[in-house]
């Protein structure tokens, strides 16, 4: 273990730990844009800079390993100035349409500007002026809002492996894009949307949730994806009895926040107008609406009316364990083992 001091408090951490991790252990807050524990450390956004005694310049705490006896200050005037100027620089090149931005209330740029009291930029001059990219049905890319943290790019390369996007160009003209500035549809993008979940600002917006609710109005429910057998964890964001957005659940031990296009963007079948909403009974060859009592009575009567061996059931690989259990219990209680499901399909 290595011992160091942060803001006058002593802390012991593993020798491989970074200053940021040591600070986290102490509960000392350090702002970050480009940092993710799952991705390569790049030290690009410079929001997490701190002062280390004996070092000439500020250091990025996310990618600087601790040293024994290190003395760190995270809250000095010098650190604050650097962070404020950093935010100031970002704001000088960022639209200020928070009023209608989907990310409002859940945007790290907004949060940090609030924290450091940066309300508008001191700098004026050239700004990015890119066209909105909204040709795919899943999400909109507004690169005017991009702060070039690179989380999306690293997610695409290091988590997904698709490698559909890159930071193109250099310097002030840097821009995240698919090769040849093509739309994503013409790239290896598989529309997993993990880049969207990773973006700390409002540069990537899922289309399905536009106008459906402010982040702070939404209730989060953690559940499991209804599609393939991997069992990825999903976070469903709910407002007024409607799932308005889905994200991968970072706390899920199987998927660690990862998802594919189906789990991410394919669950709004829930709201389909084609959903069945009442029982139906075939009368004169037509399926007509009925009450539950009528339908259940009819089914019960038919189930009772045959020998067990004349009865068969297909259970569901999409229903819960409890429901599958009850289904086979029901059929077995009625005297049949003719139970199967599409496990084999």
């Amino acid at each position: 273990m290595v011992s160091l001091t942060i803001n006058g408090q002593k802390v012991e951490v593993e020798p491989e730990a970074t200053i940021l991790q040591a600070a986290e252990k102490l509960g000392v807050f350090i702002p970050t844009f480009c940092y993710s524990p799952q991705l390569t450390l790049v030290g690009a956004c410079r929001m997490c800079v701190v002062e280390v005694e004996g070092m000439r310049a500020l250091v990025a705490s996310c990618c600087t390993p601790v040293r024994d006896g290190m003395v760190v200050h995270t809250d000095t005037e010098r650190v604050h100035t650097a962070r404020k100027i950093n935010l100031n620089l970002l704001l000088a090149n960022h639209p200020l349409d928070c009023l209608t931005c989907e990310k409002n209330g859940n945007c790290r740029l907004q949060d940090y500007c609030y924290l450091y009291g940066v309300s508008e930029s001191d700098f004026k001059g050239d700004r990015k002026d890119y066209a909105l990219e909204d040709t795919n049905p899943f999400f909109i890319r507004d690169m005017n809002k991009c702060i070039l943290c690179g989380l999306c790019v690293r997610t695409c390369h290091e988590i997904n492996g698709a490698g559909a996007i890159e930071i193109m160009n250099r310097g002030f003209d840097s821009k995240v894009s698919a090769a040849f500035y093509d739309p994503l549809e013409n790239s290896p993008c598989v529309f997993c949307g993990m880049c969207v979940d990773a973006c700390p600002v409002g540069a990537l917006t899922p289309k399905q949730s536009i106008g459906k609710g402010r982040s702070y109005e939404l209730e989060t429910v953690k559940t499991v994806c209804p599609y393939c057998g991997t069992g990825c964890g999903l976070e469903l964001y709910v407002k007024n009895n409607e799932v308005v957005r889905v994200k991968g659940d970072p706390s899920n031990p199987v998927s660690r926040g990862q998802v594919c296009v189906k789990g991410h963007f394919g669950t709004d079948f829930l709201k389909s107008p084609e959903r069945l909403t009442t029982p139906l009974i075939r009368k004169n060859g037509e399926l007509v609406e009925s009450s539950w009592d009528e339908a259940l009575d009819l089914v019960a009567e038919k189930l009772k009316g045959v020998k067990g061996t004349e009865l068969a059931g297909f259970s569901s690989a999409r229903a819960t364990n409890e429901e599958n259990y009850l289904f086979q219990k029901l059929l077995r209680s009625l005297g049949t083992n003719n139970i199967d499901h599409c496990a084999r399909l």
Partner: protein
């Protein structure tokens, strides 16, 4: 899966056979690519040049339906070159000699003749796999959906055991289950021969245990499987069919046969969230709640039981399946009175040794548990067979190559194989109704090779008629290098081009899985 998803990225080698993982199990596909970036050897075996093949160290493009031969070939090389894990074989297994004798004739040269894979590549694959510190095998329906599916699975097990890749981290035999809770449905005894936790229904202990708990006597004789049920209806033996959340009218092989049965059955109840092709045939349709509208648990492909939570209310009068079942039970005088899914789960845990230690409370706190989890202190089991196999020793079973039940001939010169794509799922009931995915991939595109397209004078986007001995469909084509000449690929996501009108319902004699993966077809240009 014998092993866990979280172990994939640390494997030394991955053998992915008959699985288009990046499309069917994308997140597992991510992990495979991660493993590859971390230095694992990646070997992909598939008739199609699937996406994962682009990332592979070695891609073996075999003829559809020749998996056992290839697997036997790999085992042959491993034994021949002294790469077998002798200690493992000696200590942990039995039946090696018979199996070894059976693979003797599967020399790389012979296997090349059958599979079309170069003998050298077979040798290289065997070495990459057997020499790795830990090597994991993954397969999906590409292995099981064959008339010889059970043999394939046995051959996979032979391969893993011969190289000692069982019972340790980042190794094992890992079928990737297709549907979110297909593992759970099996675990729960939604099968004709077993009740929960694979306890045989005809076993005396099972009978008495369940009788005591349920207060009813279980039928002893194993029931009929899905395909047998369909045949049973056509024979007249089955009169009432209760379908909960399935769509056999689109997903089952040789659809015409199934549709005939659904029309014939005396009383059909379908409980679903949409009026599926099957529900449309029903006498009574019961509206059910979807995944986000109810509580419960799912068990994923790595045997992990996870909580499913309700986020919104079901639409209209729709009800959760468990509520509907309980309502019926009470009308049938069974006297169920579950207060909710948690109580049902407690009953499951009580009756199922492998689930005995699992509770909602633990799932909430620990974020899922992998069975076997025999008691409340047990941490769950990330990988199976750590110290011994369930039945004591691992058993090698000799496997012989059998050609597919139906092979191309003069009349039906092409080989049709089926699967899924990234954007859709199963019969498309959910994905096609998603506002984003539905319009993005609105129609089926059958894949054919450039060579075949040229031969038949077909271009990308043309409408063609594909027919087999059982039926025909009309579909647009995509001309691609993904499929080799002689092979046609279609998904079963689209009712407009229901591929299962063509497929063969010839089933594997043991597992009763139809041979979706191979059947003979012909293809001709169609007029719209």
């Amino acid at each position: 899966m014998t092993n866990s998803i979280g172990e994939i990225e640390d494997a030394g080698a991955l053998l992915v056979i008959g699985s288009n993982t990046t499309e069917t199990h994308p997140v597992i596909g991510y992990r495979m690519k991660m493993a590859k970036r971390k230095g694992a050897a990646l070997i992909v075996v598939d008739p199609r040049r699937v996406d994962l093949a682009e990332h592979a160290d070695l891609f073996l493009q075999l003829r559809p339906g020749t998996n056992e031969a290839l697997l036997n070939g790999l085992i042959h090389v491993i034994i021949e070159e002294g790469l077998a894990d002798e200690e493992f074989v000696r200590e942990r297994t039995e039946g090696f000699a018979e199996m070894a004798a059976a693979v003797k004739k599967y020399t790389p040269g012979y296997v090349e003749e059958i599979t079309g894979v170069a003998a050298d590549d077979i040798r290289r694959a065997a070495r990459l796999y057997a020499k790795a510190e830990s090597a994991a095998i993954f397969y999906t329906m590409g292995i099981t959906q064959h008339s010889s599916g059970t043999n394939n699975v046995l051959a996979v097990a032979n391969l893993a055991m011969v190289s000692g890749n069982v019972g340790k981290r980042s190794a094992g035999v890992n079928p990737l289950r297709g549907q979110n809770n297909v593992q759970g449905a099996c675990d729960m005894g939604a099968l004709p021969n077993v009740v929960t936790g694979y306890q045989r229904v005809d076993h005396r202990d099972t009978q008495s245990k369940f009788k005591k708990d349920w207060g009813v006597k279980l039928p002893v004789a194993p029931g009929l499987t899905a395909t047998e049920i369909i045949d049973g209806i056509l024979d007249g033996g089955i009169k009432v069919l209760y379908v909960m959340g399935e769509n056999p009218a689109l997903s089952d092989a040789n659809l015409n046969h199934v549709l005939e049965a659904l029309a014939k059955v005396e009383f059909l109840v379908v409980q679903d969230i949409f009026l599926t092709e099957t529900a449309a045939q029903a006498d009574v349709v019961l509206p059910a709640a979807a995944f986000a509208e109810k509580h419960g648990t799912f068990t994923n492909t790595e045997r992990r039981v996870q909580l499913v939570r309700q986020a919104v209310n079901p639409p209209g009068e729709a009800r959760a399946d468990w509520v509907i079942l309980q309502e019926l039970a009470s009308r049938l005088g069974l006297g169920w009175s579950y207060g909710g899914p948690e109580e049902v789960f407690q009953e499951i845990a009580r009756l199922t040794p492998s689930y005995a230690g699992i509770s909602y409370k633990r799932l909430e706190e620990e974020g899922g548990l992998q069975w076997p989890c025999p008691d409340a202190e047990h941490p769950g089991t990330p990988y199976l067979h750590a110290n011994q196999f369930a039945g004591g020793k691992g058993h090698f079973t000799p496997v012989e190559y059998q050609p597919p039940a139906e092979e191309p001939d003069a009349e039906y010169p092409l080989l049709l194989t089926t699967g899924r794509n990234l954007f859709h799922y199963h019969t498309g009931t959910m994905t096609r109704r998603s506002s984003a995915i539905g319009p993005f991939k609105p129609e089926e595109m059958a894949q054919i090779s450039k060579e075949d397209a040229e031969k038949l004078g077909i271009e990308e986007g043309d409408l063609v008629k594909i027919s087999s001995r059982r039926g025909e469909v009309k579909v647009k084509v995509q001309v691609t290098e993904i499929v080799p000449p002689g092979v046609v690929f279609m998904t079963f996501h689209f009712h407009e081009a229901a591929v299962n009108l063509l497929t063969n319902s010839k089933v594997d004699p043991v597992a009763k899985i139809p041979e979706y993966k191979v059947c003979a077809v012909k293809l001709e240009k169609a007029v719209p």
